[in-house]
């Protein structure tokens, strides 16, 4: 990008790597930062560095965590007989907002997508099965997205987990197909959880 001074070009290049940000949005963000004061820019830069330093994946459920365990795994008030399986950490937030689920979570970090070459071994499936071994968990609620990848993942998990004698349920089909879980409102998602069905 020969039109910009090197530090600006560098910032634009980094911003354009972010999801959903094209050249136009990158320019808008970059000029916003340039026009603001030094302190604002430092706060942003610090926040980015700190989040990477402090947050990692919970070693049990692979949600984001500031400590070794995430807030849910560390909370002894939570019901340890149920695990809700989701694709991404942001889906944990969506389920929590409904207030309908009091158990623990398991974040797969994606969904099975044959066309993208994403199979079960690329996801945190093995770790989920290990959590079921000691017999504490009696129900696994599969709350993957209601699209082809999410359904494929749910079917795969049901086939794997049912022989272990653990109940596998799927959030109700009231959720519109094709949508992402994170966009569902609390009421719809809460109802879908309540009306989950045996797989």
């Amino acid at each position: 990008m020969p039109y910009y001074a090197e530090p600006i070009a560098r910032l634009l290049e980094e911003l354009e790597r972010l999801p959903g940000i094209g050249p136009k949005s990158a320019q808008r963000v970059a000029f916003h930062i340039l026009k603001g004061d030094d302190e604002t820019a430092h706060r942003l830069a610090d926040a980015i560095v700190e989040v990477k330093r402090q947050i990692h994946f919970c070693k049990v459920c692979f949600n984001f965590a500031a400590d070794e365990l995430c807030e849910y795994c560390a909370d002894h008030e939570r019901d340890r007989t149920g695990i809700c399986v989701v694709e991404e950490p942001r889906d944990v937030v969506a389920i929590e907002r409904t207030g309908e689920f009091r158990g623990l979570y398991h974040v797969l970090q994606g969904a099975i997508s044959p066309i993208d070459g994403i199979g079960p071994e690329q996801l945190r499936v093995r770790e989920l099965i290990l959590r079921l071994e000691d017999g504490t968990v009696t129900e696994v609620v599969v709350a993957t997205n209601p699209n082809v990848e999410g359904e494929t993942t749910a079917l795969y998990l049901a086939r794997l987990i049912k022989p272990l004698g653990v109940r596998v349920t799927r959030i109700a089909s009231g959720l519109p197909v094709g949508g992402d879980l994170e966009y569902a409102d609390e009421v719809t998602l809460g109802r879908a959880l309540e009306a989950r069905r045996e797989m």
């Binding site: 070459g117 079917l155 094709g178 949508g179 992402d180």
Partner: protein, 248 residues
């Protein structure tokens, strides 16, 4: 903005921005079309299941600057029953992956759409054990339409029609007679029964493949040969097929 109707099979979705999707389609005339479905990832989207992979839909497209934009979508066949089993989803995944890789923009093969649509329909209700054979039949038929019909009655190299060897050469394009066998040291063993099944797969209608009554061992052999043949003639990596073959 000029707009036009299009019947198409949804092959894959790619996320675009906050809530949009780029949908890759196989049009009814066999061309590949890419179109944007605005807001399709929102749960209140009017598109919903209509632009999910495996669905056939009647679309109204606006001609955009770089990509077409989907204005309306009406379901023709959702192929909903594929969602009842992991095995059905995996088999259907191979179908759309191959179509995604072999179809091209601006150049169509009309038979490809019909055959794909029928294949997905048959996969909805076929016995689970038949699915690998349906996958093999689809791959052979699609490659044949694409100009890569394997030679099974004549030697692929010298056209000798008394060829009854047990060698199958993906590179040469079919079976090899004894005289030509040194041409491809990588040729695979093919039993006479496997050759007969492959011939039958090419000739049969999708709906009749279940009735061929192929046993487990023979089915595995046929699938292995067809996967090798496909891998050789499709330059792009078929990730869904790799996964499918590994899971068998």
């Amino acid at each position: 903005m000029p707009s036009y109707p299009l019947r198409a099979l949804v092959l894959r979705k790619t996320k675009l921005g906050e809530a949009d999707l780029i949908v890759t389609l196989l049009a009814a005339d066999g061309r590949q079309v890419r179109a944007v479905a605005k807001g399709a990832r929102k749960t209140k989207s009017r598109f919903g299941a209509r632009v999910e992979p495996f669905a056939v839909a009647d679309l109204l497209l606006h001609t955009g600057r770089s990509l077409e934009v989907i204005a309306e979508a009406e379901t023709v066949a959702s192929h909903e029953a594929l969602r009842s089993d992991y095995e059905r989803m995996a088999a259907a995944g191979v179908v759309v992956d191959l179509l995604d890789k072999i179809s091209v923009e601006g150049q169509g093969e009309p038979q490809l759409f019909e055959m794909s649509n029928v294949t997905l329909g048959v996969m909805e209700s076929a016995a689970i054990a038949t699915l690998p054979l349906l996958v093999a039949a689809f791959l052979l038929k699609a490659l044949a339409m694409h100009g890569y019909r394997p030679s099974l009655d004549q030697c692929a190299s010298c056209a000798d029609d008394t060829c009854d060897s047990t060698l199958f050469s993906p590179r040469t394009g079919g079976c090899l007679c004894d005289g030509c066998s040194p041409q491809d040291p990588a040729a695979l063993r093919m039993s006479p029964d496997a050759r007969a099944v492959m011939r039958a797969l090419l000739r049969s209608r999708m709906a009749d493949i279940e009735a061929l009554g192929v046993d487990d061992a023979l089915r595995s052999e046929v699938v292995r040969l067809v996967v090798a043949y496909t891998g050789y003639h499709v330059p792009a990596r078929l990730k869904a097929l790799d996964m499918y073959a590994k899971g068998m």
